[in-house]
């Protein structure tokens, strides 16, 4: 049994990750590792970067085609997609369905997949919508760990 089956926490080895260059331009990381009947991400992608063999298959992303626009973040019913862009700092866009929404420029805590505080983060962008998308800036070493925020 994999860790995500028991604990609900995905490990990086279970994901197909982008290379450094792709990360520099910013791409969607789809943390969807279990076959469920669902495909809105495929329809939402403007560059057809996401594909699925059938509605139950796992989504496959072509990091070359992905432009990191984040449209898939909002539509994913599982809130399982994040856009990650890594340069000197890492920018992470994540779905956030709680109140209050943070403000741009606000300092918040970044949480990992277990809800543990791992570092400080600065809110760079708040995109309101059916599912708000928050973009935070964290040190680059946390690019693949920070997946939630806590407003102190």
């Amino acid at each position: 049994m994999k860790r995500w089956e028991i604990e609900g926490i995905v490990e990086l080895k279970d994901l197909e990750l982008p290379n450094e260059e792709q990360l520099r331009k910013g791409v969607a990381i789809i943390e969807c590792v279990q076959e469920i009947p669902c495909n809105p991400c495929v329809d939402a992608c403007p560059t057809n970067a996401i594909s699925m063999e059938n509605i139950n298959a796992l989504p496959k992303i072509d990091y070359e085609k992905c432009i990191g626009c984040g449209k898939c973040i909002e539509v994913c019913p599982g809130l399982a997609i994040f856009v990650v862009k890594v340069n000197e700092k890492a920018l992470i866009s994540l779905p956030y369905e709680f109140l209050p929404l943070p403000k741009e420029g606000q300092k918040v805590k970044a949480l990992d997949r277990e809800g543990k505080e791992i570092c400080d983060a600065i809110v760079k962008k708040v995109k309101k919508g059916k599912t708000p998308v928050i973009t935070i800036e964290v040190p680059p070493q946390y690019a693949m760990e920070a997946r939630n925020i806590r407003i102190a």
Binding site: G8, V10, I55, E97, D112
Partner: protein, 482 residues
């Protein structure tokens, strides 16, 4: 206890009104149920058990159990969880003896319809929409509004565009209701179907209790879409007020905007338990943990991941041993299970919480369909006792259909498809020239169902359906041969 701001839901409360509870004047809002109003006023004991007088809070929150029965304006045994509060209502504890005469005077109304649909959830609404193009449709629901359990589903649906993926359940409920209201469909709300009789034709008796009205309904065909009810779990203290069905909490919180408590413990890490945990967090209620008896999480990984990254622990291989508290939950003891499902001594943890949600599965609500004489069978994969039916959702009693959770515990998406199929098949004989068109549509919906059930999570429902269909054909084959 009232939720003022919510990230997903906008609570539109009605006019402020007053009512009386055991002689005390209390405030409520129009549009909420008696139980929700009581709860918002901090009253959590709604009834007492008949023999031992043990306190009872609400459990299912959707009119399926009996723990919220109270006397309202002199009418005994009112299900306060589905009955709207009105200005000046007098709410009292139920009498501890059964009333001699429950209906002193009532109005009798006769109705005649081509198709009667019992249940206005995703399956019933979808059936009504399809059937109404070809026949007279009467839709009956015991709630005060349509939508069934969709009205509390704030999460976005899975599936494909066709099954409204990415849309929240609450929005789907609205879309379906709007469509139903546009069509010429007669709707009876606040009305419970309490009996089926075979008089050579299909005959239903339904009651609008608060209006003292009895409906006698003659129907050409009937589609039952009565849904399912939450399962109970055996443990010490499981009848304490504060032990709720997970769905009941969703109703209280997401429909009426009333918090169930401050800190919750959830039993069961299937989709219902996982989604509920997330919704509690969204309502600013703390979740102490989720316990799951199975060695792994039963629901979707993505739902589990959402609450894990908010810091909620999931203890697999654990269950609840005991709930404790004085007339209300104050905490629970959880413990690890061994391979034989026995608690491992010494592994106990004391969890401080003021409510416990049971999310340990659902059982089809078969009490009505069982009255029709349709063959009922216990099928484990289907969630319990179900009415045998064919691919068109027709039971072994000709002209009687089932759809949705009643026909196998599954998803709202599949309930909608089954409803469409049942609705269309039931009207074939009313549709003079469109029979081919109808059959084509049915075929399309069947294919969609098939696709939906192809993945890992489709295995159980697929097995259930195959058993149900096989048994149906065996029964009907035997009947034809004899």
């Amino acid at each position: 206890m009232r939720i003022i701001e919510h990230p997903i839901i906008e609570f539109k409360r009605g006019r402020k009104i007053h009512f009386y509870y055991n002689g005390k004047k209390l405030e409520a809002y129009e549009g909420e149920t008696i139980a929700a109003a009581l709860y918002a006023n901090g009253i959590k004991i709604l009834s007492k058990s008949l023999r031992k007088g043990r306190p009872r809070g609400f459990f299912c929150g959707i009119g399926k159990c009996s723990s919220c029965l109270m006397k309202v304006n002199g009418i005994p045994n009112v299900r306060t969880c589905i009955t709207l509060i009105k200005e000046g209502d007098v709410v009292e504890d139920n009498d501890m003896v059964l009333p001699e005469k429950e209906y002193p005077e009532c109005k009798f109304t006769k109705l005649n319809t081509d198709i009667a649909i019992v249940g206005g959830g995703p399956a019933g609404l979808s059936a009504a929409i399809e059937a109404a193009d070809y026949a007279n449709v009467l839709l009956i629901d015991e709630n005060h509004r349509l939508g069934g359990q969709l009205i509390k589903q704030t999460h976005k649906f899975f599936g494909s565009k066709k099954e409204k993926a990415g849309t929240r359940g609450i929005e789907i409920a609205k879309e379906l209701e709007d469509e139903v209201r546009k069509k010429n469909i007669k709707i009876l709300l606040n009305t419970s179907v309490i009996g089926y009789y075979d008089r050579g034709y299909h005959f239903l008796v339904a009651v609008d209790k608060m209006n003292r009205t009895v409906y006698e309904i003659k129907a050409g065909k009937i589609i039952f879409a009565t849904g399912a009810q939450e399962n109970m779990l055996l443990f010490d203290g499981n009848d304490l007020p504060g032990v709720y069905g997970a769905g009941g909490v969703q109703t209280l919180m997401n429909v009426y905007g009333v918090k169930p408590g401050n800190v919750g413990l959830i039993v069961g890490a299937g989709n219902v338990g996982l989604i509920l945990a997330y919704q509690l967090l969204q309502a600013d209620v703390e979740v102490a943990c989720i316990v799951e008896a199975m060695p792994k999480i039963g629901g979707y990984f993505v739902h589990a991941a959402k609450i894990r990254r908010c810091g909620v622990p999931i203890y697999t291989g654990h269950s609840i041993k005991k709930a404790y508290g004085n007339e209300h939950v104050e905490g629970a003891i959880i413990a690890k299970l061994d391979e034989k499902w026995n608690f491992i001594e010494g592994s106990e943890k004391d969890i401080k919480c003021d409510f416990i949600c049971l999310a340990v599965g659902l059982s089809p609500t078969i009490r009505l369909i069982a009255q029709t004489g349709a063959d009922i069978l216990f099928i484990n994969e289907a969630g319990g006792w179900v009415a045998l039916h064919n691919e068109y959702m027709e039971t072994t009693k000709p002209g009687i259909y089932v759809a949705g959770d009643l026909a196998n515990i599954e998803e709202a998406s599949t309930a909608m498809l089954e409803g469409k199929i049942a609705g269309l098949h039931a009207v074939i004989e009313f549709a003079k020239n469109d029979k081919t068109k109808i059959m084509e549509k049915i075929k399309e919906y069947m294919e969609d169902l098939e696709i939906f059930r192809q993945g890992y999570f489709g295995i159980r429902p697929k097995i259930a359906k195959e058993k149900i269909w096989r048994k149906y054909h065996e029964k009907m084959g035997n009947r034809r041969n004899s």
